[in-house]
């Protein structure tokens, strides 16, 4: 069962909120402070991809994030219920394509599109998350990422 679930309207403005929530839950789940920046960036990338896909295919459908802490792992699943954008890559654990510089010195897929080059976001996610699984189904795309955690952090004292 997810520790926390968040759904939000697919608008870029809400991606920041999703990042903040994911980082807060990760901290509470015992993810090391040194990894929180990676969690924040990776979930932001996944949510940005989902927002882009939803805006293209199903703007009325919310993006869903599930944050789960179990068995020493903190897992984030970002689900978009739209079809993946044309040309998007699939990646297994650590296998996301990493855009390399071309002979001209600028990555070939770095077209200055409205939401940035899609290959970059997968490259960033794969480079940051400890484990990444991307699955495409008829219902849409799911990105699962996880990091080691030490279990729920108990802070403060009862009033």
């Amino acid at each position: 069962m997810a520790t926390v679930e968040v759904t939000f309207t697919p608008l870029p403005a809400h991606v920041r909120t999703a990042r903040l929530v994911a980082t807060a839950v990760a901290r509470r789940s015992g993810v090391a402070e040194s990894l929180l920046d990676e969690v924040r960036l990776a979930v932001g990338e996944a949510c940005s991809r989902a927002v882009e896909a939803h805006q293209l295919h199903c703007p009325a459908e919310p993006v869903r994030i599930a944050l789960t802490d179990q068995a020493g792992r903190f897992e984030i699943e970002v689900v978009n219920t739209s079809q993946a954008p044309a040309g998007s890559a699939q990646a297994g654990p650590g296998s996301a394509a990493r855009p390399g510089p071309t002979a001209a010195g600028v990555p070939a897929d770095a077209a200055d599109s409205a939401l940035g080059p899609p290959g970059f976001s997968l490259a960033v996610i794969a480079g940051l998350a400890d484990d990444v699984q991307i699955s495409e189904t008829a219902a849409g795309t799911s990105i699962r990422m996880s990091w080691p955690s030490s279990g729920p952090v108990v802070s403060g004292s009862p009033a």
Binding site: P12, A13, V15, R16, R19, D37, R40, L41, G44, E45, S48, V51, E52, R98, P99, G100, P101, G105, V106, P107, A110, A111, D112, S113, A114, L115, G116, P117, F120, S121, A123, V124, G127, L128
Partner: protein, 122 residues
């Protein structure tokens, strides 16, 4: 000098030694990156082809922001210009390393260093 401000991103720019310095403060993400892109396009459109983007006060940068910087680089290079970065924050530099963009951008420790390096390459 132009000043553009919002809660998440502050943009400013000024000329120093003939090079346009773009000051960026806050978060560059899917929501705010379009404003940085618009500024870079605006600068190129008024003939500013030598740019230094100071990212020392950037708290967050994602792939959308990277795409905007790469787009800016392509635009200035089309005019034989340059776009260098100033950044010493490890969490920001990490994103450039992951994506291989450290080989594409000149990344410097200070604005003065970026200017000096650019002048020496002319």
């Amino acid at each position: 000098m132009a000043l553009e401000e919002s809660v998440d991103l502050k943009l400013d720019h000024h000329t120093k030694d003939g090079i346009e310095i773009v000051e960026v403060e806050g978060e560059i993400d899917v929501y705010t990156a379009p404003r940085l892109r618009e500024l870079l396009i605006e600068l190129v459109n008024i003939g500013k082809y030598q740019l230094v983007v100071n990212m020392e006060k950037v708290e967050f940068l994602d792939s959308t922001g990277l795409g905007v910087l790469v787009g800016g680089l392509k635009r200035v290079r089309a005019h034989d210009g340059s776009l260098d970065l100033v950044c010493t924050q490890e969490r920001i530099l990490k994103i450039f390393r992951i994506t291989g963009l450290t080989k594409v951008f000149g990344i410097h420790g200070t604005v003065d260093e970026a200017i000096t390096n650019r002048k020496s390459e002319k």
